[in-house]
């Protein structure tokens, strides 16, 4: 606690140094661990980033230089990780066709298509299988062979048949009969032991699982005996093969598929594409389809208009109600204000996930409370205008406590002498409210109104849980009458016929730009309010 003389360097106590180096060491250790995980996963980008972080930490905190950087670095790292990276990633995705059926790389897709096309040969035998290696060799390196059994067929010679099972040994060279001497069978008909071989158990064979999967004993033509399970093998072949020179897929029937737009499509244009496709760059296609596809474009304009109206009306109605209540409950003559205020805040305290669903049930035309109590027969969730009203009513109920809260706070901070001065000058209550209280109030809550606008602009939870964006017009099941851009993007990304994350990323970038522009204008306006002071 000694007062250091100003202008002279302070001698750092040794324990502080020790803690500092310990923390640095811990950070480096954590980074090393992360990098090691990333190396195992093969993501070199992550390794680079982690290594960069580790070096930065070491440089900034181990030296005496760069005092400002010591304070800024953690913030910068978090900013990059949680703000810049997701944005960059979204932007990168917006230029691809990433989505269902286009989630693999082309190499992976080619491999997957061929693996999926492996079919058993018709009427072929099913073999009992044991994975074996030559006796005395290491499991990890030994040459594999399949010891196979199948029910003996007519004409099989006795020396290869035991207990009605014909014995074979299958290698990469082909299928050979296996003499019965010394061979014992297990209960399921597979070979348990054979001279010269070590039969692997399921767990032992699992050390070579990928090799076993790839292993095929060639039999006539392109057929091969492959493992079906750990104890059974089947005769099959890949019915679709890739031709790397022409970049085409050919099926057994001779249909040729060419690579086009992230899929293998039939060369003659007849029939569907092969199901597994790949991610590829599509340039500005996603953006141009927002503006050229008539369904999307009309939907976008319609949704955008509602997306402006909804937050404006929401903020306006909640602010009006909240402010009126705040003025009412701010009156010094009112008793029991604490209780009223606590009760009014309740809707704000309940989670929207509960209230929105409850409101959806209350708006039900036949079974809902609202029609029952009011005696109306409005199809709240089925009629476009009624649904919009329902959304606004629900949001009014959800949102006014917040406005009430901030208005109460702002009102209490307005000094009473200002009002007194107004009344001394002869202003009536309305004149005081309009010319004195309101301007002062708006200075305080203006930025919050802008923030509330931005929040409601993206009020996904309410729309999704209350109306699901609906009701929908008959001609278009993608664009609902209460949809916001964000629920629209969600539907495109995850719920539409072909979930298309690339397109949804493009839509969210446009939403990002819109919200940014609107907020900028909004804050400029609210700055003008401050000039009252």
């Amino acid at each position: 606690m000694s007062q250091a003389p100003v202008g002279q360097p302070v001698a750092t106590p040794p324990w502080v140094l020790a803690v500092k180096w310990l923390l640095i060491a811990l950070t480096l250790a954590a980074c090393t661990y992360l990098a090691w995980l990333a190396v195992e996963g093969g993501s070199w980008l992550i390794v680079t980033v982690v290594a960069f972080l580790a070096m930065s930490v070491l440089v900034v905190y181990s030296t005496r230089r760069g005092i400002t950087m010591k304070y800024l670095l953690p913030g910068l790292i978090l900013l990059a990780l949680f703000q810049v990276w997701p944005i960059a990633y979204t932007v990168a995705t917006a230029f691809t066709n990433y989505g269902d059926g286009h989630s693999l790389s082309k190499e992976e897709a080619i491999e997957a298509i061929q693996a999926q096309s492996v079919r058993p040969a018709p009427d072929s035998a099913r073999y009992g299988m044991s994975v074996a290696i030559p006796e005395g060799e290491e499991i990890a390196t030994a040459e594999l062979s399949f010891l196979l059994t199948r029910p003996a067929q007519e004409g099989a010679t006795g020396e290869h048949v035991v207990d009605g099972q014909e014995l074979f040994v299958g290698t990469l060279e082909g299928l050979e009969p296996l003499p019965v001497e010394g061979v014992t069978l297990r209960g399921n008909g597979t070979i348990g032991a054979a001279p010269g071989y070590r039969v692997l158990t399921l767990v032992e064979a699992n050390e070579r699982a990928q090799d076993v999967s790839a292993f095929a004993v060639p039999v006539d033509g392109d057929l091969g005996i492959k493992a079906a399970t750990g104890t059974q093998a089947f005769v099959g072949r890949a019915t679709t093969t890739y031709n790397p020179d022409a970049d085409t897929m050919t099926t057994l029937e001779g249909t040729v598929y060419v690579a086009r737009d992230g899929n293998f499509v039939p060369q003659d244009g007849q029939g569907p594409a092969l199901p597994t496709g790949w991610t590829e760059n599509v340039g500005l296609d996603n953006f141009s389809s927002i503006f050229t596809d008539s369904t999307l474009r009309n939907g976008f304009v319609k949704i955008f208009v509602w997306n402006l109206v909804f937050p404006l009306l929401s903020v306006g109605s909640t602010f009006l109600l909240g402010m009126l209540l705040a003025l009412l409950f701010n009156d010094p003559r009112l008793r029991g204000k604490g209780i009223y205020r606590s009760l009014l805040i309740l809707p704000y305290a309940l989670p929207i996930f509960v209230t929105a669903i409850v409101w959806a049930a209350m708006f039900n035309q036949d079974f809902g409370m609202i029609n029952e109590v009011t005696g109306l027969n409005i199809d709240w969730l089925g009629d476009p205008w009624a649904a919009r009203a329902a959304v606004l009513i629900t949001n009014l109920w959800l949102g006014f406590p917040y406005m009430f809260l901030i208005c109460t706070g702002a009102l209490q901070s307005i000094p009473t002498d200002v009002r007194e001065a107004a009344s001394v000058d002869g202003a009536g209550p309305f004149r005081t409210l309009w010319s004195v209280v309101m301007p002062l109030l708006l200075v305080a809550v203006g930025p919050l109104l802008v923030a509330s606008f931005a929040f409601n602009f993206n009020n996904f939870g309410l729309i999704y849980l209350l109306t699901g964006g609906g009701p929908f017009d008959a001609t278009n099941s993608q664009v609902g009458n209460t949809d916001l851009l964000i629920t629209f993007a969600y539907r495109l990304a995850l719920e539409s016929g072909t979930p298309n994350i690339g397109l949804a990323s493009a839509v969210s970038i446009i939403i990002f730009l819109l919200v940014g522009a609107l907020s900028y204008v909004g804050f400029r306006q609210s700055k003008a309010l401050e000039e009252v002071n």
Binding site: G41, G42, S43, W44, L45, V47, T48, A51, F52, M55, S56, V59, T63, R65, G66, Y89, A92, T93, Y98, D100, G101, S103, L104, S105, A109, A112, A115, Q116, R126, T201, L202, V203, N206, A209, Q210, V212, A228, T229, T231, F234, G236, G271, A273, I357, N364, D366, L381, G382, T467, G468, G470, A474, S477, A493, L494, E495, S496, G497, T498, G502
Partner: protein, 458 residues
């Protein structure tokens, strides 16, 4: 300050150089930015498809779905030593004790991991896409097309004589483009559930059901003719029995089994005939868009309806509500329209990225098709087993099972082709509008146009 910036730049360059050197020794390509780190913020699977099969299911399973709170982080993944199975809470609890035989036979330890039902499909897809994920996942058959598209599941080369032991529809359900991808364990469908106190007789036809229902409503015994899920956004799964009653449907059936996903038949004369019936049911008030997942089962339990069309997931609540019930097939129309429901099949999928492919395949091909596991799974979710022998064994203990099997008769498995994802939304909304009074022919034509353009745009 300037020197610090320089130092950081140096640090960065050094780091880049170091990793670049490291990168050379490993021949593996850095994956493309989009495929890399693909844990995009995909929400739960309230997708169109699950609207069909599982939405009701989810409400039925109720709060239990959230019990999987323990899996807040990434669930355990296939690690090359033990067999990892992912399932929702209900099925995880059921499969866990059933793996003991397998462990005793093979010495392979089995880890069962609970994943919340509404997240299972998405998490399975994402995790396997990252090269992680389980060896086996228990899920619904209509995920299949999507899983194959993204190379999430591996083919299952089941022995033909084993495949023959299953209910044929269940094998059809797990077949995609001629290839088998999973081993089924149960078959479920919609059926007519009747409050036997209010309606002691089985209605012979939909017309009779409506007549009886109207009589009960007029007498003040009930408020609804029929309780059946539809909702404002419609429900293609729930309405399919009526739409397809005259041979129409969604996609034409292929001779070799499965559906031809290249064209939809929503505006075929047969489908329109079914849609007319849908309009009639809406007109008489048997169906209503105000009936949705939140009120159908409660209305039935409160005695507000004597008839309900629902599935096995409703039974627990009905029993708890103390209702005397009977299960029958959905009645046909008097003029010969046969109301066959969609079949939903629960299956065991094998991950395409499993580190224990032979062990996983051994489990699903040699142990799942046993009565022990099939009956054991039945005890958990009360869906009729897919293995014929197990179904027969269970039928002798539980009379509901026979009724469910009868209700499923003639049903077709929900299409598992990815094209189906383009149909659930437009067809669902069309059913809602038609019940609400829209002209069937016009409305189905619009839906057809929309589906066709979605399919053409693939």
């Amino acid at each position: 300050m300037k020197r610090t910036t320089g130092a950081i730049a140096m640090a960065g360059i050094t780091a880049l150089l170091l990793t670049a050197c490291g990168g050379d020794t490993e021949s593996e390509d850095p994956t493309s930015p989009a495929a890399d780190e693909a844990d995009a913020p995909e929400g739960d699977d309230e997708g169109a498809t699950s609207d069909a099969g599982d939405a009701a299911d989810e409400t039925a399973a109720g709060g239990e779905g959230d019990a999987a709170g323990e899996t807040a982080g990434a669930p355990a993944a296939s690690d090359g030593t033990s067999l990892v199975i992912w399932a929702d809470d209900l099925r995880a609890a059921a499969i866990e004790p059933l793996t003991e035989t397998f462990t005793a036979d093979t010495g392979v330890e089995v880890k069962v991991q609970v994943v919340a039902q509404e997240k299972l499909r998405e998490q399975f897809k994402d995790a396997v896409g990252q090269g992680a994920g389980p060896d086996i996942t228990i899920g619904a058959h209509d995920w299949l097309g999507e899983l194959v598209q993204n190379n999430v599941v591996a083919p299952v080369q089941i022995a033909p004589d084993v495949a023959e032991q299953f209910v044929p529809e269940s094998i059809e359900a797990v077949t995609f483009e001629g290839q088998l991808y999973a081993v089924p364990y149960s078959v479920e469908s919609l059926a007519l559930i009747r409050n036997t106190d209010l309606a002691p007789e089985v209605p012979a036809s939909m017309e009779e059901l409506v007549e009886n229902g109207q009589a009960m409503v007029e007498a003040g015994d009930t408020e609804l003719i029929l309780a059946q899920e539809l909702g404002k956004e419609g429900n293609a799964y729930s309405m399919y029995p009526y739409v397809s009653a005259y041979g129409g449907g969604i996609f034409p059936l292929l001779e070799e089994g499965g559906f031809d996903g290249s064209k939809a038949i929503l505006d075929s004369p047969e489908t329109l005939q079914g849609a007319e019936k849908l309009a009639w049911l809406g007109e008489v008030g048997a169906l209503s868009t105000n009936q949705d997942a939140s009120n159908v089962i409660p209305n039935f339990i409160d005695g507000k309806a004597a008839y309900m069309v629902s599935g096995p997931w409703a039974i627990d609540q009905i029993t708890e509500g103390g209702i005397n019930y009977a299960i029958d097939p959905i009645p046909d129309f008097a003029d010969g329209g046969e109301t066959a429901p969609f079949l939903g099949v629960q299956t065991f999928y094998v991950s395409a990225e499993s580190l224990n492919p032979q062990i996983a395949q051994t489990f699903v091909q040699e142990y799942v098709p046993t009565e022990e596991i099939q009956v054991g799974m039945f005890e958990a979710d009360r869906r009729p087993p897919a293995l014929t022998a197990a179904a027969e064994q269970v039928q002798s203990q539980d009379e509901d099972v026979e009724a469910w099997s009868a209700a499923a008769e003639g049903g077709t498995p929900m299409p598992n082709i990815p094209q189906m994802n383009a149909v659930w939304g437009p067809l669902g909304k069309a059913t809602a509008d038609i019940v609400g009074g829209a002209d069937p022919a016009e409305r189905m034509a619009t839906a057809q146009t929309e589906v066709a353009s979605a399919l053409g745009g693939r």
